[in-house]
């Protein structure tokens, strides 16, 4: 299929579907003024049932926890696929020493950048951990905090260079982090089944409302998701950055 044929096909289907889009847009419920029964039910019942104040986390980890398990396994699968693709053709064993690319000038980072990166790294890391821990009280959770933690460690690469970053971020530790967290999520779901309840049912005492440690089973799932996301993203960064260090004349 040439580009011209594809473009003609796209234009033809757009012309055919444009009346459908117009009819749909006119027939959609009024923006902001239609009833939301499922959302109202959760907003009304969840604070009393689960004692937490972040409804989005309640939906993510308790009412629809099974979907979050599926999403986490999608994440683990995509990261595994990317890592397999990159490591398979590079042929290096995990944990190999970083190599320099010959013929490329290495410019030292400016002193202001190094200072700011060294100052901001513990602050960003602490902020990421704060966001993960306060999932049930304020906006936050495992997904956001995990990405913040993985990106905060990159400040080390920006300020201090590739060798320092590589010596701290070890691929074996990241494998354990990511796979272990996904397994921990499933085991957390299986524990209520051993005691005669449903899968992923919240059986531990739920604590006080607006407390940081409320909703016990959700806390464990939240930590598992944070470890999985942080480990997955850090492994992606590691594999992609390792790609820029392949020696010349490999092919």
């Amino acid at each position: 299929m040439s580009v011209r044929f594809r473009l003609l096909l796209l234009i033809a289907s757009t012309i055919i579907l444009l009346p459908a889009v117009v009819v749909l847009a006119l027939g959609m419920p009024a923006f902001g003024a239609h009833p939301l029964p499922y959302g109202d039910a959760i907003n009304r019942d969840a604070p009393g049932q689960r004692h937490i104040s972040n409804m989005v986390s309640a939906v993510n980890f308790d009412y629809r926890g099974f979907d979050t398990m599926g999403e986490e396994f999608m994440l683990v699968t995509a990261v595994t696929g990317a890592v397999m693709l990159l490591r398979g053709t590079r042929g290096e064993s995990p944990g190999a020493e970083p190599e320099e690319v010959p013929g490329r000038s290495v410019q030292p980072a400016g002193e202001a950048i190094v200072l700011i990166c060294r100052l901001m790294l513990p602050v960003s890391l602490l902020f990421g951990i704060y966001v993960v821990l306060h999932a049930t009280a304020t906006p936050g959770g495992g997904f956001q905090g995990g990405v913040i933690i993985a990106s905060a460690v990159l400040l080390l690469y920006l300020g201090d260079g590739y060798r320092v970053w590589r010596s701290i971020v070890r691929s074996r530790l990241l494998h354990l982090c990511e796979g272990g967290a996904a397994a921990a999520f499933v085991l957390t779901g299986l524990v209520p089944m051993l005691l005669g309840h449903a899968f992923l049912e919240n059986i531990l005492p739920t604590g006080q409302f607006r407390d940081m440690l409320a909703g016990w089973l959700m806390q464990i799932e939240n930590l598992a998701v944070a470890f999985a996301v942080a480990g997955g993203f850090a492994m992606l960064f590691l594999e992609f950055l390792e790609e820029t260090r392949a020696p010349k004349g490999e092919e």
Binding site: N54, V101, V131, G141, F143, V147, S151, F237, F240, T244
Partner: protein, 81 residues
């Protein structure tokens, strides 16, 4: 429909068009980051702070970084050939 919401919707549409129309991959990375920032502001205006958090970290830090690293290794590969 308040003015703020309408302006943010139009901004998101404009940055999305900008991502498609920048053909050079290096320029497109900046357009992706701008689109992520526009989406974050829209999600904040739609009363969704969790989602805005997620989109901010992913769309402006993680995804542009992955794109830039891939482009750098493609450039290194081309120089080595």
């Amino acid at each position: 429909m308040t003015l703020l919401l309408a302006a943010l919707f139009v901004l998101v549409a404009a940055t999305g068009t900008g991502v498609v129309l920048s053909r050079d991959p290096v320029r497109q990375v900046m357009a992706i980051a701008a689109h992520g920032l526009g989406l974050t502001l829209l999600f904040l205006a739609l009363q969704a702070p969790d989602v805005a958090f997620s989109e901010l970290t992913v769309g402006t830090a993680a995804v542009p970084l992955l794109f830039l690293v891939v482009l750098a290794s493609i450039r290194n590969d081309r120089k080595g050939q």
